[in-house]
Symmetry: C2
Subunit: 275 residues, 2 copies
């Protein structure tokens, strides 16, 4: 990490009794800073706060958190920020403390340096063996317990494979290890339902909203492997990668945004919003 | 916490990029120190190491870890130890670093001060609303992602209720929020199967082994609510509480170890082993 602030201060570390460490009792977000601009900050804050509230963690005040971020971006105009919010220290075992003091941890690392072709020619993906477990109480929330993602990501070493797709126990396609997923079908989009598992990223929300504004159909549905394989196009999204078309999945090959002029037009607008 | 060592040193905290904090990428154990004796240390180490290996984390050397523990027990003859082992810092996102440096965190807190009657007259328990998710890749492992336990423990505030029992999505009884569970049926024991979810605690192993040595039947099976309600007796175990008989579950009442003389005899031997 290039720089880290814990509760606004540059300190050596996080207390060992922080419940984020001891129990995964917290949430996080990853966002891009480009030319000193914190991309989509108000929307990221809204999702962070919503995830906190879902776990009954008091969200940090937006001004306080943005103050931390500005301390960092004053020095680092281009970076990937990770914002972690935990329930803080204390409590007896799993029981939450009667009064908890939310802890905020803001870290900056370098923006990832992916091959340029990944956002133009598209990426190769694989299907992971690990199946996500269904937990409606935590589905969609970007909480700190991400061992499933770690295990799934450990399944391959080939640097030519950009991402692994995850299925739930019933074989429905849910997401990538670090991104959300959209299928193009005719002139509409569909993205997996995340009410049982998965992380609902901000870029997924932005794509859904933008598509609907552009008059594209965009639905949220359970998606099985067969439907994925039948899609006209497939693309991956998150806050750092933006949009990656999927070029290949095993023997399957997709062509990039040739079959859907409406989607192409929408994507141009999404990737190059008016200033 | 009374005292904490991170990689053997008393430092202010754990680095903010520790994967235990960022992804729940680690495991832990809780054990009792009484009169300077670290109860069941070799067995706790064996389970800790097995959990590490299941996640492909290099376990710390037992001598190194026990050195940390001795530094603490030299000062604190009575305490509850928490040993946390994480994959350390680093890696790019969920991908594990090519070479990882396992981090060990050993903390001492006071031994919990439960009402004396809980281990003699028994405890009141409830059934939690939250259902555990099934994840065979992580089942049994005491990993750091314990938000399900946190959410379940937050369901009640009544201090007279000692524990909440957890079901899986199919309604099978799995464990308590912080302990394992045994049913007494006639003159034998049965404990829930943990191949889909739950934490396999050391005391559970010890009970199974001891019961079999004493000629009691002890099986591991899926257990539904009806079978729980039909049990002659029910008891909870973990390394800090030892054995708690369950006295009541809602309107259900159990009498403590009256119906099963063989179990009573075994329990006496288990709780008062020959010196």
């Amino acid at each position: 990490m290039l720089m880290t602030l814990v509760d606004g201060r540059q300190v050596a570390g996080v207390p060992a009794d922080d419940r984020g460490l001891t129990y995964g009792d917290g949430v996080f977000r990853t966002l891009a800073v480009r030319n000193g601009h914190v991309c989509w900050w108000p929307r990221h804050y809204a999702k962070l706060a919503a995830d906190c509230i879902a776990l009954d963690i008091r969200p940090p005040e937006p001004e306080t958190l943005f103050g931390d971020i500005q301390t960092i971006t004053a020095r680092l105009a281009h970076c990937a920020l990770r914002i972690t919010v935990t329930r803080g220290s204390g409590g007896r075992g799993y029981a939450r403390p009667a009064v908890s003091h939310t802890r905020r941890i803001v870290s900056a690392g370098p923006l990832p340096d992916y091959p340029a072709g990944w956002s133009t020619a598209g990426v190769a993906v694989r299907i992971c063996d690990l199946r996500l477990s269904e937990q409606p109480a935590l589905a969609g929330i970007k909480h700190l317990g991400r061992l499933e993602n770690v295990l799934a990501r450990a399944e391959w070493n080939d640097p030519a494979i950009a991402e692994g797709l995850l299925q739930d126990s019933a074989g429905r396609i849910v997401e990538g290890t670090r991104c959300n997923l959209f299928l193009v079908e005719k002139d509409g989009l569909v993205t997996p339902d995340l009410s049982l598992c998965g992380v609902a990223g901000l870029t997924r929300d932005l794509v859904i909203e933008s598509a609907i504004r552009h008059g594209l159909r965009c639905s949220v549905e359970p998606i099985d492997l067969k439907r994925l394989e039948s899609a006209t196009e497939v693309f991956l999204v998150n806050s750092l990668i933006g949009v990656w078309p999927v070029a290949t999945l095993g023997h399957l090959k997709w062509r990039k945004f040739v079959a859907a002029p409406l989607v192409r037009k929408w994507l141009d607008a999404f990737e190059n919003p008016p200033a």
